[in-house]
Amino acid sequence: MTTKAQLFITCLGENFFSDTLKDMVRVLERLGVQCEMPEGQTCCGQPFFNSGFQSGALAPARQFIKVFGKTDGYIVAPSGSCVDFVRHHYRELFPEGTPEHARVKELVPRTFEFCEFLLNVLKMTDVGAVFPHKVTYHASCHLLRGLGLREEPKKLLRAVKGLELVPLNEEETCCGFGGVFSVVYPEVSKTMMETKLDNIQASGAEYIIAGDPGCLMNIAGGLRKVGSPIRALHLISVLAAQ
C-alpha cells in the first residue's frame, strides 16, 4: 500500500517558502510517498493563540480540523512550530465535550513534522541527497523542545552526500523570531537575531540550515540586511538537492 502524505503547507510556508514546499513534494515522491494537498487549508491558529487571543484561534483551528479531518493517511508539515501547536494545544482548545474533540483525537497522532515523518514513520535517514557544501544547523525552538527533535535533523543532514556539517555555537539558543514577539518587542528580537548571526558567521559555514519557516525568515532577513554571502535554507531543500 502506498504511504499517503496530506501536505499541511502552513501559512508562512505558503506565503514565503514556495520552493521549500515544492522540494517537500519532490523528496516525498522520490521516496514513493503519494502527496496530496487538501484544499481549503489556511492556518493552524497559533499566531492568534500566542498573541493571547485564544478565542481567535478557534476559527482557523476549526478550519484545519474540517479540512484535514476528511483526509486519510499522514499529515505532514514543513514546520515544527505548527505541528507542535496542533499536537499540544488542540486538545486544550477543543476539550472533551466539544464537537471537535473526537476529530482532534483522531488527527493529532497522524500529524508529523517533516523530519519526524522521514525518520520515525518512513524509517529513512539517507534520502539520496547530494549537497557538497559546508553547512551549520540552527535548532528551532519548537522543533527542538516542542517536538523533542534534538539529534534527528542533524542525523538527516549527516547522511547527505558531500555535506560537511560544522558546529554552531549556541545552536539551541532562540534566534529571536518568537512569532508575535518579533513585532511586539522588535528591539529585543533584533539583538537576539544579531547574536545568532554572529555565531553563524563565526561557524565558517556557507549555509545555515533550520527546520522552521519562522526562524528562516528571521535569519535570512538578518543575513540579507548585513549583506552576508551565507544563505539560509530549509532542511527540506537540502534533502531535495541532487
Binding site: 501536505l7 503547507i9 510556508g13 505558503e14 506565503n15 514565503f16 514556495s18 515544492k22 513534494v25 502527496c35 494537498m37 484544499e39 481549503g40 487549508q41 489556511t42 492556518c43 491558529g45 492568534f48 493563540f49 500566542n50 498573541s51 493571547g52 487571543f53 485564544q54 481567535g56 484561534a57 476559527a59 482557523p60 478550519q63 479540512v67 525552538c141 523542545r145 516542542g146 539551541e172 539558543t173 532562540c174 523570531f177 518568537g178 512569532g179 508575535v180 514577539f181 518579533s182 513585532v183 511586539v184 518587542y185 522588535p186 528591539e187 529585543v188 528580537s189 533584533k190 539583538t191 537576539m192 537575531m193 547574536t195 525568515m217 528571521n218 535570512a220 532577513g221 538578518g222 540579507r224
Partner: protein, 478 residues
C-alpha cells in the same frame, strides 16, 4: 531600593538599557550555566530528571495543601518560642514590621538578601520611618548604594562591572576603591562588620519553611545571613506563604536542586536552619523571633490551575540564566524585583494586568527556561495563559485589550475560516507589495509592519504552491 511600580513599559525600559550591560550579564549567566552543567553531569541525567520530578511533586503537594502546612508551621514556630503574623498584602506586612520595630525603639536594621522584602518595598517604608536599613548581601549592598532594584533574583548586581562598582564605592563611601574584586569585598566587609554589631534588628526572608518543625531554611554564600539572624536582639523574617514545605525529606530533595541550579554548587557555603529565637540556655541568637507570612496576591494566584504553578518556584534563577531575552535586556527592563521568565510570570500575577500586561509578551516562547527549571514549571504554558488573560480576560481579571482590537482579531480570523478569501488574500498580497519590492525582499514596510522591517527585511510574498501542485496533478492525471 525598589518601589512597587504602577505601570511597566517593557519596550521603553529596554530602550534605556545601557549598551555594556548585556555583556556583563552574559558573562555571569554563562559562568553559572557552565558550573551548573558540570554538577548536573555528576548527578547524571537520569537521576537529575528524577530529582526534578520529585521536586515538582513536592512543591505542587505543598501548594495544594498550603492551608494545612501553614497551620502546622504556625503551631511549630509558636512552640519554638516564635511569633507568627499573617499579612494579607504588602501594606499589612510593612505595618507589622514597622510596629514591631517602633515598639522596640529600633534604629538600625541589617538585612539578609530577600526577594519578598524587595517585592513589598520594605526598605523604603523603614527608611521613611527613620530606621536605617543596610543590605548585607554583597550584591544587595552594591545595588542599595546605587539606588536601584535587583537585576537578577540571585545575583542582584549582575548588571555592573567591577569598574562600575569601584566607581560607586568611591563616590558613595568616600573611600579609594580600586576595581579589584577582593579589595572591593574587603571595603564592603569593613562597613558591614560595624553594622552587624550595632544593629538592633535583623531582617531576612527564607528559601523554605519546614512545616514539620517550624524551621526556616536560609541558603547563602557570604555568611551575612548568619550575622543578621543571630547578632541583633530581634529577628523578623518576611516570607511568602508559598515557601512552605511539609518536612525534612522535602528539604532534602529541594536542597539538591536549588544550589546546583542556581550557582552550580553542590551546596551553598552556608545553609542555615532557624527554629525560633534563642533558647534560655543558649548563648547566641536573637531574643525575639517573628515570622511574617506574606500572601500579597498568592492566594489569588492559586485560583488558576495553570498559572498557579508559578508558585512552585524555588528562586534558583536558572530561568534567567538561560533566557535569551533576559540575557539581552537584563533585569531592570522587567520593571520590578522579579525579572526574567519568573518575573514575567510572577510580577504579572502579583501586580495585575493593569500594571504588568507587557511582561508575559516579553518572551519568544523558546522554552529553554522550562527545560532547565529544577521544579519543572511549564513556563511557556503559563506565559500563554497570562497573555490570554491580558487580552481576553479570564476568571481572575477582565480583558485589557481595547474592543477595537478584539473586533479586529475577530475579523482577521474570519479570513482564516473562509478558504476562498484566504487564497485570494495570498494572491492579492503579491500585487499589493509590488511598489515596495526590491530583489525579492521587502526592505521597508509601513506601520505596523515596520516593526518587522526595522530589524530585517521581509521576504516578498510569493504564494504559488497551490497552483503548481494543482497543475502537476492535472498533468499527471491526463
Amino acid at each position: 531600593m525598589s518601589q512597587i511600580p504602577t505601570h511597566i513599559n517593557f519596550r521603553t525600559n529596554v530602550k534605556n538599557v545601557p549598551p555594556h550591560m548585556p555583556v556583563s550579564v552574559r558573562k555571569a549567566t554563562s559562568k553559572f550555566l557552565g558550573t551548573r552543567q558540570a554538577v548536573v553531569d555528576v548527578v547524571g541525567d537520569e537521576r537529575w530528571q528524577a530529582l526534578r520530578q520529585a521536586g515538582h511533586e513536592i512543591r505542587l503537594h505543598s501548594l495544594t495543601h498550603m492551608d494545612h502546612y501553614l497551620t502546622r508551621l504556625e503551631e511549630k514556630v509558636r512552640a519554638a518560642g516564635g511569633i507568627v503574623h499573617w499579612a494579607r498584602d504588602a501594606a499589612e506586612a510593612k505595618q507589622i514590621v514597622l510596629e514591631l520595630a517602633k515598639e522596640r525603639g529600633v534604629k538600625r536594621a541589617v538585612k539578609v538578601k530577600s526577594m519578598a522584602t524587595e517585592e513589598i518595598g520594605l526598605n523604603h517604608a523603614l527608611q521613611e520611618n527613620g530606621i536605617s536599613v543596610l543590605e548585607t548581601d554583597l550584591g544587595e549592598f552594591i545595588i542599595q548604594l546605587a539606588g536601584v532594584g535587583p537585576s537578577h533574583i540571585i545575583v542582584p548586581a549582575v548588571h555592573l562591572t567591577k569598574e562600575g562598582i569601584a566607581e560607586l564605592f568611591t563616590q558613595k563611601l568616600g573611600v579609594d576603591a580600586p576595581p579589584d574584586p577582593l579589595k572591593l569585598c574587603a571595603i564592603a566587609r569593613t562597613r558591614l562588620r560595624e553594622e552587624f554589631l550595632s544593629a538592633d534588628l535583623g531582617i531576612s526572608g527564607a528559601n523554605f519553611m519546614v512545616a514539620e518543625t517550624g524551621t526556616l531554611v536560609i541558603v547563602t554564600n557570604e555568611g551575612n545571613g548568619r550575622m543578621c539572624t543571630t547578632l541583633p536582639p530581634l529577628h523578623i523574617a518576611v516570607v511568602g506563604i508559598d515557601k512552605v514545605v511539609p518536612d525534612w525529606e522535602s528539604v532534602n530533595v529541594l536542597l539538591k536542586l536549588l544550589p546546583r541550579s542556581a550557582t552550580g554548587q553542590k551546596m551553598s557555603a552556608y545553609t542555615s536552619f532557624i527554629t525560633g529565637p534563642r533558647r534560655s540556655n543558649e548563648e547566641g541568637g536573637p531574643k525575639e523571633f517573628h515570622l511574617v507570612l506574606l500572601d500579597n496576591g498568592r492566594t489569588r494566584i492559586m485560583k488558576d490551575e495553570v498559572t498557579r504553578e508559578t508558585l512552585l518556584c524555588i528562586r534558583c534563577g536558572v530561568c534567567l540564566n538561560v533566557c535569551p531575552v533576559y540575557n539581552n535586556v537584563g533585569g531592570h527592563a522587567y520593571g520590578f524585583a522579579y525579572s526574567g521568565p519568573i518575573g514575567a510570570m510572577l510580577s504579572t500575577q502579583l501586580l495585575g494586568m493593569k500594571t504588568a500586561a507587557d511582561l508575559p509578551f516579553a518572551s519568544s516562547l523558546c522554552g529553554a527556561c522550562a527545560e532547565f527549571c529544577p521544579v519543572k514549571i511549564p513556563i511557556p504554558e503559563i506565559l500563554l495563559r497570562l497573555r490570554h488573560r491580558a487580552v481576553e480576560g479570564d476568571q481572575i481579571e477582565r480583558a485589557a485589550a481595547p474592543a477595537v482590537i478584539q473586533a479586529g482579531v475577530k475579523l482577521g480570523t474570519l479570513s482564516f475560516s473562509l478558504p476562498w478569501l484566504y487564497e485570494f488574500g495570498t494572491q492579492m498580497l503579491k500585487y499589493i507589495q509590488a511598489p515596495l519590492r526590491k530583489n525579492g525582499w521587502l526592505p521597508n514596510l509601513p506601520p505596523p509592519a515596520n516593526r518587522w522591517t526595522m530589524a530585517r527585511p521581509l521576504p516578498a510574498f510569493g504564494a504559488d504552491f497551490r497552483a503548481w501542485f494543482r497543475k502537476r496533478k492535472n498533468e499527471r492525471q491526463r
